[in-house]
């Protein structure tokens, strides 16, 4: 499978996510608040939880000082439905606690109303 329409643009509002399939692969299509689309494997790299059952949200950042919370990246973070691990959509799906690890991702382009995942 080289490329495939996975959904329509209007299927996913900015700041939301939805599962789809790319060939036999379960994929997670995310739309960040700026309107951009991203696609990842729909399985947590830790223990395999279905990421679409988690949430898309923001995160407390490492700029926070002890006792105070800085919260941003709203709509740009995927949190796993099991252990709550956080992955940064706009940083190649890297795990916040360990950026060496990332969720495998797919290329995405938008043509008219179609969201297309391709290799």
């Amino acid at each position: 499978m080289r490329e495939q329409v996975v959904c329509k643009k209007s299927d996913i509002e900015p700041g939301e996510m939805k599962k789809s399939t790319f060939g036999k692969q379960d994929v997670l299509i995310c739309r960040t608040p700026d309107g951009e689309f991203y696609a990842f494997m729909n399985q947590c790299i830790h223990q395999g939880a279905p990421l679409d059952r988690g949430m898309i949200c923001g995160a407390t950042t490492e700029e926070s000082e002890p006792g105070g919370y800085e919260y941003c990246h709203k709509g740009e973070i995927i949190r796993c439905p099991w252990h709550g691990r956080e992955f940064d959509i706009k940083n190649e799906g890297r795990m916040l606690a360990n950026p060496d690890k990332k969720i495998p991702s797919f290329k995405v382009r938008v043509e008219d109303e179609d969201v297309i995942v391709y290799k």
């Binding site: 830790h46 223990q47 395999g48 939880a49 279905p50 059952r53 988690g54 949430m55 949190r79 796993c80 439905p81 099991w82 252990h83 709550g84």
Partner: protein, 356 residues
């Protein structure tokens, strides 16, 4: 996942009750206090829970909004059938946890009785794979013994559940509970409640509390050990539930070292503490730290036995361990022990054809 079925005895599954499920089983005046006075237990975490859906797996919440773990059919579909469980041991959780109530022992005892009957009727009688834990209001020792006598002979009750809270269970006052358990071929299962790790209070952050859970488990094993519970009740076993397992070698070494120097204080111990642990104490694996195979095998070598660990998922909680992913790969014989045989050898009331 279905292609990869493994023989599994899951030693920690949390079925969930809501007060409305058991209120009809309570006598007055207890029923009145729940129905009309909106009574609930006093304890509860101060934290906003760290994960997506509080203490639960977000995908385990029922489609109609009921709490995770509250429906047998959904649990069968998502866990028991999906993984292919051979057996699962129910350990409940949260409300009502009668043993961890502070004060009002009469209500705690009434809740325990109602809970046990509800568990038997709605879970143990309805799925042959599921086995249960006897809930007791252990702070009221004599009522606890009565409840063990009442339901302990049920063929699918395999252990008496004690909370890890603010009572050290090795204390001789509580030994009649162990005597009653042993009489009915029940083991003791111990699971932490709230808030065991910080001198009866809560640390500032959930991450501190969750990190320190094994310390609460170590306290209870130490209390049971040096108060002579395992010598006094040689057929009794203790399953430590949900504290993980990487602390085990430390505790064995530490207790043996103390024993060499201070044995005269506890002369009733006829065996080395590490030997007693190997013979009578078991540990559920979750929450498992992510270890390499080398680290995991090294840990087993430090324990001196591969028969102490029993796999558990902790379904449906947020820190669920997947039977396929939580532990490193291991050879089939070791896998059979940790995922199945160790638990079957531990619980006398679990079917175990290999024992003959």
């Amino acid at each position: 996942m279905t292609k990869n079925k493994i023989s599994l005895v899951d030693t920690d599954i949390h079925e969930r009750v809501q007060y409305r499920d058991i209120v009809d089983r309570l006598d007055e005046p207890f029923r009145h206090y729940i129905e009309n006075c909106h009574w609930i237990q006093e304890k509860h975490m101060p934290y906003t829970q760290p994960s997506v859906a509080g203490v639960d797996r977000a995908d385990a919440i029922l489609p109609d909004g009921r709490p995770a773990g509250s429906d047998l059919g959904f649990m069968q579909e998502q866990l028991l059938d999906e993984i292919g469980h051979e057996f699962g041991i129910l350990t409940s959780a949260l409300d009502p946890s009668p043993s961890s109530m502070h004060g009002w022992h009469e209500m705690a005892a009434a809740l325990a009785t109602a809970y046990n009957d509800w568990q038997i009727e709605n879970w143990l009688d309805k799925d042959e794979r599921l086995y249960g834990s006897v809930h007791i209001a252990a702070q009221d020792r004599d009522e606890a013994v009565k409840e063990i006598e009442r339901v302990g002979s049920h063929p699918k009750m395999v252990q008496v559940l004690l909370p890890i809270d603010d009572i050290m269970w090795g204390e001789p006052y509580y030994h009649p509970i162990f005597e009653a358990a042993e009489k009915h071929n029940l083991m003791i299962g111990m699971h932490h409640n709230e808030p065991p790790v910080y001198y009866g209070k809560w640390p500032r952050y959930f991450i501190e509390w969750h990190t320190l859970i094994p310390t609460a488990h170590m306290k209870q094993i130490t209390s049971m050990m040096f108060n002579g519970v395992f010598e006094k009740f040689p057929n009794l076993g203790l399953m430590m539930i949900e504290g993980g397992f990487t602390f085990i070698p430390h505790l064995m070494w530490k207790m043996d070292q103390q024993f060499r120097d201070l044995r005269h204080e506890v002369p009733w111990l006829k065996r080395k503490p590490s030997q007693i642990m190997k013979e009578q104490v078991r540990f559920t694996t979750q929450p498992a730290e992510e270890l390499t195979k080398k680290e995991f095998m090294s840990l087993l070598e430090q324990m001196g036995t591969d028969e102490m660990l029993c796999f558990s998922t902790d379904y449906p909680h947020w820190d669920y361990d997947s039977p396929h992913r939580a532990l490193p790969n291991m050879d089939p014989e070791l896998k059979r022990k940790i995922f199945s045989e160790n638990a079957k050898n531990f619980y006398p009331k679990l079917p175990n054809p290999e024992e003959g």
